[in-house]
Subunit: 524 residues, 2 copies
């Protein structure tokens, strides 16, 4: 099994990356496995729908995994895999993870996790301090206090966002003299008691779909997640936001939260958090920041300023499994007010009793693993300096890729680079001057859409490199059209400039050798 | 680190448990670590609230873990730890888990998981077949069809129950001619459009608190999770249920779901699922079964009958990390109707596109780990026969413990044993005849409550054994009182009869040597 392992990341503070060696390992397997497509042919192992009667020895099960499953997994840690916001995990962390699996602590209650409850509260406090910079005395008072919740560890950014908005919903429509509060009585009764027409969440049209999901799950309704226009750089338009808020207030809507994003999924844009905080204070509306992607920039002296104002948010989502490189399944939502999460508290007779210290009293999930151990390990093995270096390198590599795209006669950068997520597209050299003068016709945009869709698919199926794709608003002089964009997430510490060049070269080659007429290509 | 590892479980079908050896390992560490209490003194490592500037080498980090953290973790796999429904994990599974961590697949989309998406769909189909016994042709059609959702893998039973009730809520209040449906429009608008007063969930008063949580999160309101009385054996009273339903219908309430439990947290009772299914069909109300604990009994020919009627449920929660012994973080909610989960579907421009095969289009979570690999591994390494043996042994051990409790003159079994969760209490021998004749006064019950609270706490702090505790209804001839119960979950394959005896002996010893007068003991 050794050769199937993903490469180790050295501890950055101590030694240099041995990139060449690591890359050769990460390249041993193809990124994609078209023959194992969900719709394609499958080996007999995948069509036996009965739980086997007799078990097999572990050795033969592992053999099955290594033959049938592992080689066809997504090679998300490949230095030429630029499609995902999750991926590369240092080998040291998989060792920590194995220990966590063996100990199998249950974070729902102190009796089933003990020192891990302490470790979780510590790690949350450290991240809280990173975001909110409260004085140390604040942490001495709240980090371990049963009644304080500096944050909630969840399985992912979606659960963190839902948790934050659940808290916010409940605080916005609290108990009144003759009303028991929304958590107990439900939304209909809450709106009636508070004399509101509906409850809404407001964010830009670039917020993550988990906010829509939250609006749906929490019973507000997806259409009551109001989307405000973004400016050309993908950041929320503050004037448009104010207009939306004013309209809501006129209509007597309860605004549950304004949601800012620090690192949009589409293009890595960071909303003007200070401006959002101003609006939040002026109108007295709770302010949540989805910093699942961007929060780690706080660890870099060079890029910390991008998040200015985040400490004024009521709650902040931070993902471990994105730019902190922990395995998938570790996210945290932080609360500025240690008493905020009381709004979602639950108690039972067999646990979560008052003063129990049980973390499960205030959380979306019940039984949950000690994934926080991986976060603690990562923060302590890399340190702030280690992360700073990874982030600065990642930004430099994204800068390099943006320059490469600009320098070539067959690519177009579709938005100014803000962080380390790029959106761009292939444009045939003969059309390049048209794009520069903003003279592409709607039909030509359509052609490019089909061509870029084709490039992304073929490259992925080739199995040596991949980028994502999305649809973005392309703002011409006269009109705004929605165009297909290639999307590169440049955050794998193993990626070198030659990897970036190779990704673009292959895309250009696919385009040049594409013999299918535009009209025959599949449409987005 | 080797000596800190938890013991291996041999593949049951191939060889015998080597219990003595395994137990000696599992006993190497104390179950509890009172000195590390959340409120107690902490070492300096736990009061540094700043992320360290410089990282440390992995070796020294591991040293820290092994000195400061691991020895004070809860020893949940100890054969004398009878307090939790999660715990023992076979060592083979931690190896599979390490591989899963290294591959770091993201189950939200096919491109980031590929063959793991296939593996997840397969495993869901196998569990679906276990519960619903549809013909194989059904699985050939639906297991891999993009538009079909036989189940959703989640991080835990709570997320599974919330997911099921989210689906059920949306299906109960769907789009109408001039109404777009509850998911889009929210609950208030939905209730108005459907002419309903409120939306409710109905279950017994023994359902898991995650159902209350679901009612809160989903915006129905916790007080609209209606609790029906249980019969003396802890199962839902079907006549009381019918009365509640009739009342709801008179009041024009939308009943989102009837929730049955297969294995209550308090006492392992299994609701009369066939009877619940009859009511569900008669009144045309969706029927969800929380079988987080009990579903694996379907793998035992001897105990399968306990769940009769489960195949008539619209959705069923099954936890891997309880009686399937996978590490915490693997649960599945199954849907009888493969189209049901369309009610919660979400799409985005960058993924989850129609026909993508992306599992994240219909799930509560977004990015999530390939925990299903552990479920697949466990089902294939143990096989049905392996689980059958584990379950039968567990039931036999619970039977042994119940007999021991009955045979002693200083214990009282508080409810008839139904499965492998027991509730009982210590009773001084001189009061035993009073309990048998149901002649205890309220004050005497109070005394016993304080004494049993004391026993449970002291035993846990002693660190050699532990049981849980809860509060249950004690039905006397004249009145029902709520009493403190000791609660033993007898499901660790490592536990032997001598472990059970030792647990009870220690409890009796603690009670006999308790020098604190009843009046001074802490109250529940």
């Amino acid at each position: 099994m050794k050769q199937q392992r993903h490469p180790a990341i050295p501890v950055v503070a101590q030694r240099e990356f041995q990139k060449a060696w690591q890359q050769s390992l990460a390249r041993a397997l193809p990124i994609s496995a078209p023959s194992q497509n969900a719709d394609g042919a499958r080996s007999p192992e995948f069509t036996d729908f009965e739980i086997p009667e007799e078990g097999v020895l572990a050795a033969s099960y592992f053999d099955h995994l290594l033959r049938e499953v592992v080689p066809f997994a997504a090679q998300v840690s490949s230095p030429r895999c630029l499609s995902h916001m999750t991926g590369y995990v240092p080998e040291e962390l998989t060792k920590v993870g194995e220990l966590a699996l063996a100990l199998n602590q249950n974070m729902v209650k102190y009796e089933a996790s003990q020192t891990f409850t302490v470790l979780e509260r510590l790690t949350i406090a450290q991240l809280h301090r990173l975001v909110y910079s409260m004085p140390l005395s604040f942490y001495e008072r709240h980090a371990y206090a049963e009644s304080s919740t500096l944050g909630i560890v969840t399985s992912g950014g979606t659960a963190s966002n839902i948790s934050a908005l659940w808290v916010s919903r409940n605080r916005r429509l609290p108990a009144l003299h003759d009303f028991q509060g929304i958590e107990d009585a439900g939304i209909s009764a809450a709106l009636a008691a508070h004399g509101c027409r509906r409850a809404v969440i407001i964010g830009s049209n670039a917020i993550h779909y988990s906010i829509d999901k939250a609006a749906g799950v929490l019973g507000l309704g997806v259409t009551n997640c109001l989307k405000v226009a973004t400016t050309r750089d993908g950041r929320i338009d503050l004037s448009a936001l104010r207009r939306t808020i004013d309209r809501c207030r006129q209509q007597n809507d309860a605004i549950v939260a304004i949601v800012g994003v620090a690192g949009t999924t589409d293009c890595g844009a960071i909303d003007p958090l200070d401006g959002l905080a101003d609006v939040s204070e002026e109108y007295k509306i709770p302010f949540h920041v989805d910093a699942a992607w961007g929060a780690p920039f706080l660890l870099s002296h060079q890029y910390r300023h991008l998040l200015r104002g985040i400490d004024r948010a009521d709650s902040v989502t931070v993902d471990g499994h994105k730019q902190l490189h922990t395995p998938i399944g570790s996210s945290v939502v932080l609360f500025r007010d240690p008493a905020a999460a009381a709004a979602i508290e639950k108690r039972t007779a067999y646990m979560l009793r008052p003063d129990s210290g049980d973390l499960g009293a205030r959380s979306l999930e019940g039984s949950r693993p000690s994934s926080v151990m991986l976060l603690h390990a990562a923060l302590h093995m890399l340190g702030r300096v280690g992360y700073e270096r990874l982030l600065n390198e990642s930004m430099a590599m994204a800068q390099f890729m943006a320059s490469e795209i600009r320098a070539r006669d067959s690519f177009e950068l579709l938005m100014e680079r803000q962080t380390n997520v790029l959106v761009y597209r292939y444009v045939p050299p003969e059309w390049r001057s048209l794009t520069e003068r903003d003279q592409l016709s709607a039909a030509q945009h359509e052609h490019l859409n089909a061509l870029n869709l084709h490039i992304q698919k073929v490259q992925h199926d080739n199995g040596q490199a991949s980028v994502g794709r999305t649809v973005i608003e392309y703002r011409g002089a006269d009109a705004t059209v929605r165009v297909v964009a290639l999307r590169a997430v440049v955050a794998n510490p193993l990626s070198t400039t030659s990897d970036i060049v190779a990704v673009l070269d292959e895309q250009a080659a696919i385009a040049r050798t594409c013999s299918t007429p535009f009209s025959m290509l599949e449409r987005a």
